[in-house]
């Protein structure tokens, strides 16, 4: 691992970002002064309990929300709108366009952004569909795919764009344990192959350690940075090992301590 202080500057810089939702009655602060940096080739994981603002943070980086405080910049440019340089894989299965086949879905953003067109786009699309093992389903409409397959199409679609950073919001949360494990392995293999940069949201400690190279642990609502940990040395094979379990334990205690405090506070109200 190259030393971060001497290598290239970070791709993504999130600096003291506070994100809020304004509804007609409430003002909800989802994250409070969160800072982190993502470097090229990172598998950066945002980990935290449900409702701590992980999705909100990802939406901020995606350009769908503007921070009320702090700045976010990608390659030195302030993020102020959504764009194809940050491709998002959503948690929901309905992110594919139902009126397009798998192949057309993967080609669509390439043609929208004008990055690749026609035969070249089709060729790239086929290449990435093959990478997620869906070659046989290229001509099929999304409603004929299983949830896991849809998710894989979304990943292929995002990766084919060669974005500066890939944003994934609990992409495997709705899958069964077996499929999830397979998809995690696929993602790691793809990373080995293509070396993309990914910002990955999850609330599973195990998934964070397996998939990530670095973990940002967020505190419960509103989300604040609790710790930043390294986990690039762990993969699926390390899962039973002592070090793996120690790290898992450590994060667990970190999150769990908060929860006990929160519950104690709730009890006082």
């Amino acid at each position: 691992m190259p030393d971060a202080s001497r290598s290239a500057p970070p791709i993504l810089k999130v600096d003291g970002v506070t994100l809020q939702y304004k509804t007609t009655e409430h003002l909800v602060t989802a994250t409070y002064r969160v800072s982190f940096e993502v470097h090229r080739g990172d598998r950066f994981v945002l980990l935290g309990p449900s409702g701590c603002g992980k999705s909100t943070l990802l939406k901020g980086v995606g350009g769908f929300m503007t921070p009320v405080e702090g700045t976010m910049s990608l390659n030195g440019r302030i993020i102020d709108r959504p764009g194809p340089d940050r491709m998002m894989v959503f948690q929901e299965f309905d992110q594919l366009l139902p009126w397009k086949t798998v192949l057309q879905n993967v080609m669509f953003p390439m043609e929208c952004a004008g990055k690749w067109r026609g035969a070249e786009a089709a060729e790239r699309a086929r290449h990435f569909i093959e990478k997620v093992n869906l070659t046989k389903f290229a001509e099929v409409y999304p409603h004929m795919l299983s949830g896991g397959m849809k998710q894989r199409v979304a990943i292929a679609r995002a990766m084919a764009m060669e974005p500066d950073i890939l944003l994934m919001d609990e992409p495997y949360a709705a899958l069964d344990a077996l499929t999830r494990r397979k998809m995690q392995e696929e993602l790691l293999e793809l990373w080995d192959d293509v070396r993309f940069t990914v910002l990955f949201v999850t609330h599973s400690i195990e998934e964070a350690i397996v998939v990530g190279s670095r973990i940002l642990v967020l505190s419960p609502h509103p989300g604040r940075v609790k710790a930043e940990l390294n986990c690039h040395q762990f993969g699926h094979t390390a899962q039973g090992g002592v070090e793996f379990q120690t790290l898992q334990r450590r994060i667990h205690d970190m999150l769990f301590a908060e929860r006990i405090e929160a519950e104690a506070a709730d009890a006082h109200d």
Partner: protein
């Protein structure tokens, strides 16, 4: 089984594992359907059978009643239809009606498109459309005919005016509702690809809302068709080249009841054709193929 504490306990059973599951055990795995089953599985065959049955019942009733002035049998109507179509005025009446209809329907769609575009892009447009649809959607188009006659006189402009009124609100309301219910995820996906403005509406919103848009088109079509026939019945008298409504009215005055039925049949057949062939084809090619509608 109830143990000593009175709690229900499921019985413990022996385990087993099946080694070879022979294919023979499945019973009938695959069997071609008989010719009759295959034909009967086609929806249009079943529907055609219903229509044939109705025609037969009509024929029998008409013959037993033996009162062609009130209720001519099916065969007489079929003959009148054939005769007026080939030699009589029915074909030209039909084309007149269809021309006016297509003119009014497309004008209605164009205005609806303008209204919904306004409604999705500005809050004022949204309020405007909501208020106008709430006001005018419940108003039967035919009720505007006297006013239309006053403004535009007898003739095509009046008809087009009432058709536009009958199409516009239904289509605009459905399209707008469709746009509003496009899922947040799809919207964000579209924006993520860098789509904005007109391209965003055209490439994301319209296809995503297509089931609602299509429903609006169908309702608008039905409204337009009914309104037009009714309007023609009312004032076809003095327009030089009347439509189907006028044909029906004219033949009633001449007590040519079989021709009245022939006119009604034409109205039904055109309605069935547009609904069952044109809209069905669009549906099969779009929403049903995309799995957005069964």
């Amino acid at each position: 089984m109830i143990d000593t504490a009175g709690k229900i306990e499921p019985p413990v059973r022996a385990e087993f594992e099946l080694r070879d599951v022979a294919a023979a055990q499945f019973g009938e795995v695959e069997r071609p359907l008989s010719a009759f089953e295959r034909v009967w599985n086609q929806a249009w065959v079943r529907r055609a059978a219903i229509v044939a049955f109705l025609a037969l019942a009509w024929e029998i009733y008409g013959r037993t009643l033996d009162n062609p002035l009130m209720f001519p049998p099916f065969w007489d109507v079929a003959q009148a239809l054939w005769h007026d179509f080939v030699k009589g005025p029915l074909l030209s009446r039909m084309t007149t009606t269809l021309q006016v209809l297509i003119l009014g329907y497309s004008a209605g769609l164009a205005i609806a498109a303008v209204f919904t575009t306004l409604a999705v892009s500005t809050r004022f447009g949204n309020d405007l459309l909501s208020t106008l649809t709430a006001m005018f959607n419940p108003l039967p188009a035919i009720a505007l005919l006297p006013l239309a006659l006053l403004w535009f006189g007898l003739g095509i402009p009046s008809l087009v005016f009432v058709i536009i009124h009958s199409v516009l609100w239904a289509v605009a309301l459905n399209t707008h509702t469709g746009f509003k219910s496009v899922s947040e995820t799809l919207r964000m996906a579209g924006q993520n690809f860098g789509l904005r403005g007109v391209a965003y509406v055209r490439k994301i919103l319209i296809p995503a809302a297509f089931p609602s848009i299509l429903a609006g088109l169908k309702i608008g079509w039905a409204f337009a068709w009914r309104t037009l026939i009714a309007a023609e019945l009312v004032f076809g008298v003095s327009s030089r080249s009347g439509g189907l409504g006028w044909y029906i009215f004219e033949n009633r005055n001449l007590l040519e009841t079989a021709n009245v039925f022939a006119g009604l049949l034409t109205v039904i057949v055109i309605g069935l054709f547009v609904e069952g062939v044109i809209f069905r084809a669009i549906e099969a090619r779009t929403v049903r193929r995309w799995g957005m509608q069964r």
